[in-house]
């Protein structure tokens, strides 16, 4: 006699998987990958490929050594790799990018229990580690299309602190900075895709960018420059929206994003560094468990817990 399979309800599930979520994020980053290869040359593409490959490889090796289940199929290591590359200048020596990738996956992600368990954003933390380790390389920026003009990289200041004035067109389509920051139009296209596919909650980028813009406007700064010249668009759409390291509820995401905006404004205007997006997000990552506790929801119709003596 045939017996049928038994399983707990529900007996149907949505088709969305972790792998598909990560694939959506990768698709959203592709325009920027392609445009950066055009603006900064194949060197930028090489950095993206090396970071992704090293991230996947270090996850594979780490899980092999520690005898943990293999998780590279979820594609989250690829996302981390591309994001890290987005946070590096195009001229960074490749071995440094590789070191950053190992730090991101092994130290920041796997040491804390792997996907979903890490409290800090792996790409951002790795970027900061590289910044402290290889400061001069990490702050050497190149003009767009430098590879077409001269044999060597022409170093330039980040537009945020540059004396030069910038055309709005350049700020949108081709500017100097990290690989991922070169083209805000491509980033916005990807960010829009993530919102439409419901992978990210639009509250985060809107509140983050809005806070920076508002504070800059109130303090009499150049709003366009503050929003578009640095890494704000990249951070707001792709890093401050990371699931594992940001609050889980929409109200928490709002607090998180406003906090990021405030910190970015403070660091940029009163700190010793030109850029503040990475540190802002990292600091708010640390505060995430507290924000989650603060925004705990009240279950529908639940009675207040009566303390028993």
């Amino acid at each position: 006699m045939t017996n049928y399979l038994v399983e707990p309800a529900p007996h149907i599930k949505s088709s969305l998987t972790t792998q598909k979520v990560m694939l959506h994020v990768i698709i959203a980053m592709l325009p920027t990958v392609l445009v950066s290869a055009y603006i900064y040359g194949l060197r930028a593409l090489l950095t993206v490929v090396v970071c992704s490959a090293v991230c996947v490889l270090s996850e594979l090796v780490f899980e092999k050594i520690t005898k943990r289940p293999r998780t590279i199929n979820d594609l989250s290591a690829v996302v981390t790799g591309i994001l890290l590359a987005f946070n590096l200048p195009p001229t960074l020596p490749i071995y440094m990018a590789a070191i950053g990738s190992v730090v991101a996956i092994v130290v920041v992600k796997q040491f804390f229990g792997g996907i979903g368990q890490n409290f800090a954003n792996p790409a951002i933390t790795a970027r900061i580690v590289l910044m402290l380790s290889f400061s001069s390389y990490m702050t050497t920026w190149s003009e767009p299309f430098y590879y077409k003009n001269t044999a060597d990289a022409v170093s330039t200041a980040t537009p945020l602190v540059s004396e030069k004035s910038f055309e709005l067109f350049d700020l949108f389509f081709a500017k100097s900075g990290c690989i991922g920051e070169c083209c805000n139009a491509a980033l916005l296209l990807g960010g829009f895709y993530l919102i439409v596919t419901r992978i990210i909650n639009p509250v985060t980028p809107i509140a983050y960018i809005g806070t920076v813009a508002l504070l800059t406007w109130v303090s009499g700064g150049d709003v366009t420059l503050q929003v578009l010249a640095g890494g704000l668009i990249l951070g707001a759409f792709f890093m401050a929206t990371d699931y594992a390291t940001t609050p889980i509820r929409t109200s928490g995401k709002l607090i998180f994003a406003v906090g990021c905006g405030l910190l970015t404004f403070l660091i940029r205007n009163f700190g010793s560094m030109p850029e503040g997006v990475s540190f802002s997000i990292l600091i708010m990552n640390i505060l995430t468990p507290y924000i989650d506790r603060l925004t705990a929801s009240h279950p529908f119709g639940a009675k207040k817990e009566v303390k028993s003596k």
């Binding site: 707990p8 309800a9 509820r249 529908f300």
Partner: protein
């Protein structure tokens, strides 16, 4: 405040198929535990001849409902079965004889006041047909002095995919529904009634709206087309704006909630006196060639429904009830209960996918209409953290399954909530 809900595929392929006439199975296996509450004791013996509508099981307990024979025939066994809830209970097996006739006790009940109305509903064997299976007369037997019930809510949401048995009942017996509502309003002195129905069931809505125009105090209430609209708490909130407190019954907020098929049954019972011996079920699933609705006697076995179902292949999974909250059936001999509103056949074991780690995406949190934290509840259960489970209010989870449905990591969140509730009930002993 808008409650969270999720979008589900509808797959209501059987919606426009008129219900087939009653199946005539060679044998029925009638469980003595068709309802929430105390199981019945058989009042027939092996070898007895029974007629359709005859009482075969009763109980003296306060919360119970009598069980009647669904076919005319001979009692061939009184045996133990494992019922759909996974519990062992007694069942009466009746094998059909060629002549089918109604038992002499089947006649319209004499109803002239509140208590005779409730007595009639008690004798009819009616239990909540939406799936919960609570004996209906218990719900009606509230003390009008203590609980002032001002609103009757007829639950016609039918928010689960595939199932259309309530929808067919609405479009095939709209006048009977209104009749049942009027009886309930009259005898229980309830001034107003709402028919809560998902906004996409436009055909049923227009028929009912037309009928309600002539009636005082009955309103068709369109509800958002999302899951779980049909859950009692959600229904009460979306229709009246009242919040049912943790552990409270609908009467505490002045509401009486009844499934639409139950209301239609009350109307028919008062007219004809035929007890609850058959019900309408939806037969569907991803390997069913011709999805349909059919009346079957309570106790009809799955094997008989398979013969009717026109399946493309041998099913891997069979579900009694909806795909969100129904139960897996492993035994081809499993009988249909009073509460079985659908029998679904599936190939593949999609829901058995291996869970991957939680990525904290928050989809379960945004899916929970009761504002619970499924992902935190899961880790609290895994750590057997009793205090945390209490604090996070796992007890109010209604097992709608929305969290498990949306989880991209395919974690069995709602299953863990059920296990957590058992853990709390056992005082923390696994």
């Amino acid at each position: 405040m808008k409650l969270h809900s999720i979008k589900l595929p509808h797959r209501k392929a059987s919606a426009e198929m008129p219900t087939l006439k009653t199946l005539n199975p060679p044998k029925v296996v009638i469980s003595m535990s068709q309802h929430g509450g105390v199981p019945c004791t058989p009042v027939v013996n092996v070898g007895d001849e029974v007629k359709t509508g005859q009482i075969i099981g009763t109980s003296e307990a306060a919360i119970s409902a009598p069980v009647h024979a669904g076919i005319t025939g001979k009692v061939t066994a009184i045996t133990d079965i494992i019922n759909i809830a996974g519990k062992r209970n007694t069942a009466v097996v009746i094998e059909t004889s060629h002549r089918q006739e109604m038992h002499e006790s089947v006649k319209p009940p004499v109803v002239n006041d509140r208590s005779s109305f409730i007595e009639a509903v008690k004798n009819s064997g009616l239990v909540g047909l939406g799936g919960a299976g609570f004996p209906t007369y218990v719900k009606l037997n509230f003390d009008p002095k203590e609980n002032r019930i001002d609103t009757l809510i007829v639950n016609a949401a039918e928010c689960e995919p595939y199932i259309t048995s309530d929808y067919r009942a609405l479009v095939e017996s709209p006048a009977e529904l209104i009749g049942g509502i009027k009886l309930l309003m009259k005898y229980l002195e309830i001034p107003k009634a709402f028919i809560g129905i998902e906004s996409d069931k436009s055909k049923a809505i227009s028929v009912l709206t037309e009928l309600c125009r002539k009636e005082k105090g009955i309103t068709v209430q369109r509800l958002p087309n999302s899951y779980p609209q049909g859950a009692e708490k959600i229904m009460i909130y979306n229709v009246t704006g009242r919040v049912l407190k943790e552990g409270g019954l609908p009467m505490s907020v002045g509401c009486l909630v009844m499934n639409c098929s139950s209301v239609i049954f009350i109307n028919d019972y008062l007219k004809k006196g035929i007890p609850l011996i058959r019900r309408r079920i939806t037969v569907d699933g991803n390997i069913v060639n011709k999805p349909l609705n059919v009346f079957v006697p309570v106790g009809t076995q799955l094997s008989e429904i398979i013969k009717l179902a026109n399946l493309r292949k041998i099913p891997d999974r069979v579900i009694f009830g909806g795909p969100m909250m129904g139960s897996s059936v492993y035994d081809p001999e499993m009988p249909v209960m009073k509460t079985t509103n659908a029998v679904l056949f599936f190939e593949g074991a999609a829901a058995l996918a291996e869970p991957t780690p939680c990525i904290r995406c928050g989809r379960c949190v945004r899916a929970c209409s009761l504002n619970l934290m499924p992902t935190e509840l899961e880790s609290a259960y895994d750590n057997k953290d009793i205090e945390r489970l209490k604090k996070l209010k796992v007890n109010i989870c209604m097992n709608c399954g929305a969290c498990s449905y949306v989880c991209p990591a395919k974690r069995n969140l709602s299953e863990k909530n059920q296990l957590a509730k058992i853990l709390l009930r056992n005082g923390g002993n696994v």
